[in-house]
């Protein structure tokens, strides 16, 4: 089932926030989104947009949710995480719009490769409006 997103808005520019045990830099960017309810496959739909932006191949270098160990390759590896959002908006006649949020984390041994990919994803997702996405 496809979801109609009214907007996808970046909260900030991507930034490096840590390195992991394998010496890979982690770049993070948080986003808010609003979509017509119901939204079921949120992370998968966002991952599709990330993939279309060149942010990785779903299932190998582009992962969704925390589902086990991150591959120990040099990367870049992109992770899309649902970060909870806030309460939905409602109208009196029963329409509902979900207020969603998510985090994109790019993990890479190469600092510049990780940063550049994070920037590419950020530029592609920020400001997406009135788009319909099916996972």
């Amino acid at each position: 089932m496809a979801t109609r997103y009214l907007e996808i808005i970046a909260v900030q520019r991507p930034f490096q926030y840590m390195t992991d045990d394998n010496g890979r830099s982690l770049f993070s960017c948080n986003f808010n989104a609003v979509a017509a309810a119901p939204v079921s496959a949120f992370e998968e739909e966002i991952a599709k947009l990330v993939s279309q932006a060149g942010g990785g191949t779903i299932g190998s270098t582009l992962l969704v949710g925390m589902r086990g160990k991150i591959p120990e390759t040099d990367g870049p590896i992109t992770l899309v995480l649902d970060s909870g959002g806030t309460a939905p908006m409602e109208t009196h006649d029963g329409a509902k719009y979900e207020r969603l949020s998510f985090q994109v984390i790019v993990r890479s041994k190469s600092y510049t490769a990780g940063r550049d990919l994070a920037l590419t994803i950020w530029r592609a997702l920020d400001g997406q409006r009135n788009v319909t996405v099916a996972a």
Binding site: L6, I9, V34, M89, T91, H92
Partner: protein, 155 residues
């Protein structure tokens, strides 16, 4: 102890799209997204206290109504919003039309106000960064109305 409060969510405002061709046929205005201010009733009070009295006295003026104001998610081509049959058309043509308000779960003659009115203002906003298109609307009621089927005012 009785607990009778009810949530306000689910109130509706319906209008006659074709008050001449199809009078009495109401269509619910789409996607009301904020608080609905029902047209409150009021009377102006004039003080008539005589000099010899030691407490004030008043006479009440005629019954008046505040405007019905509400906001919606603006949908440019919705029949209740647009310029062909909706609220925009009604202010353009200065059309007098029927308005029906119902509280949450309201039905015919139950938690219901029916009146006639004209759109006195409508405008919409497109946010540049975040948020949906929204419109603010004000309707001025005119002449008599019915509250739960009971006539109030005769003109």
């Amino acid at each position: 102890m009785s607990t009778k409060a009810v949530a306000g969510h689910g109130a509706t405002i319906a209008i006659e799209l074709l008050p001449v061709g199809s009078p009495g046929v109401f269509t619910v205005i789409a996607e009301l997204n904020g608080d609905i201010s029902w047209p409150g009733l009021s009377r102006s009070m004039t003080e008539v206290t005589p000099h010899q009295d030691d407490i004030d006295s008043y006479v009440a003026g005629r019954l008046g109504r505040e405007s019905l104001s509400f906001s919606t998610n603006y949908i440019f081509n919705d029949t209740t919003h647009d310029h062909l049959t909706g609220l925009q058309k009604k202010i353009i043509t200065n059309e007098l039309f029927g308005v029906r308000l119902r509280g949450p779960g309201g039905t015919a003659n139950t938690d219901e106000v029916i009146a006639s009115g004209r759109v006195e203002s409508i405008g919409h906003v497109d946010p540049v960064r975040e948020g949906a298109r929204t419109a603010d609307v004000s309707i001025k009621l005119t002449k008599g109305q019915k509250i739960d089927g009971v006539q109030v005012g005769n003109s």
